[in-house]
Amino acid sequence: MINKIWCFFILIAIVFGFINGTYEEVNNSIFSSISSTLELVITLFGSMCFWSGIMNIVKNTSFINKIQKILAPIIKILFPDLKKESEVYKDISMNMTSNIIGLGNAATPCGLKAIEGLQGSNSSKNKLSNNMILFILINTASIQLIPTTIISIRMGLGSKNPTGIIVGVWFASIISFLFIVFVCKIYFKFRKEG
């Protein structure tokens, strides 16, 4: 996918540059983009490392269990038919917790285990079950306690208040999460499983 996008971008930019007469700007933008990438990476370097350090403390204290406890009633509402002791439940809980504290690298492996677990109890193996649909959608909802990457970028670009977006991000992601749950719950009433 990304391979196609990249080739497409470059081709369009060059061809359109010649048609539009902006080829000189296109040419110059290569060199200015290289130096701005380098500047960005240097500033990102510090704050990404810092956040990764803080999140590693979170991962190794019972803070993470606290988040899981808070999530338990929510998972109960989302997946009422899952047993708390089941392996799938634990994977889902870990996946959501990792997403919330922004550990994308930790979230994906448990998410993949969870989807396999859900597939195990899926009645028709080549169609997504309701639980699977909801689970994937939750992973596309991006609920995050601290949106570290974007804050790092804002810091790097010299924002006066890099964290000023946090409440807005929570607001927007919670509304889109509720939207997903609401639409799914209604849709599942009409959808035939299996």
Binding site: I2, N28, S29, F45, I54, L112, I146, L157, G168
Partner: protein
């Protein structure tokens, strides 16, 4: 509003305070945990660099060719209806597909208009509040070898759009900034 302002200015301090207190209470070696995390972060940035370089250059070329303005004009009626600035069009269109591409686009938007401008703030909010829906859905569905993911994509994209609209509203009612 003052509570929100206090919170968004101090969320990070409060968060770090809680994390450190947890560490102290559980007698963990906070310092070495932090350092180990930093080492992981180093790897992340190093891994990120090639994609960022490739994409920021490509996005820069695309921007300077003027083609983005034309695309934005084409879809501007829809955007105007939801009060969304045309400059955000490429970000919104590519967000579901590629995280690194949109990181590059958001970065160039913020360096062009400023991270604290309306466009910079809304772009940040969109980046934080939406996910790479199509990408995520295809990773999970390919794990269980299911090809039919129409429903997931449709609901996911609608939810992303809700996220975009709410980001704009958040800016307009003043809870980001």
């Amino acid at each position: 509003m003052r509570v929100i302002e206090f919170f968004s200015k101090n969320a990070i301090l409060i968060f770090i305070l809680i994390v450190v207190l947890f560490g102290i209470r559980e007698k963990k070696n906070i310092f070495s945990l932090f350092l180990n995390g930093v080492i992981e972060g180093e790897k992340m940035v190093i891994e990120l660099f090639p994609t960022l370089l490739a994409l920021i250059v490509a996005v820069g070329m695309l921007n300077s060719s003027g083609v983005i303005e034309i695309i934005s004009k084409i879809i501007s009626p829809i955007l105007n209806f939801f009060n969304i600035n045309e400059a955000l069009a490429p970000l919104i269109l590519l967000r579901p597909i590629s995280g690194s591409t949109t990181t590059a686009i958001a970065t160039s938007l913020m360096s062009k208009y400023g991270p604290d401008s309306d466009i910079g703030l809304i772009a940040s909010c969109i980046m934080g509040a939406t996910e790479t829906t199509i990408y995520v859905a295809s990773i999970y569905s390919s794990k269980v070898k299911i090809k039919d993911i129409k429903e997931v994509i449709i609901i996911g994209l609608l939810a992303d759009f809700v996220g975009v609209v709410i980001s704009v509203i958040s800016y307009n009612i003043g809870i980001i900034g």
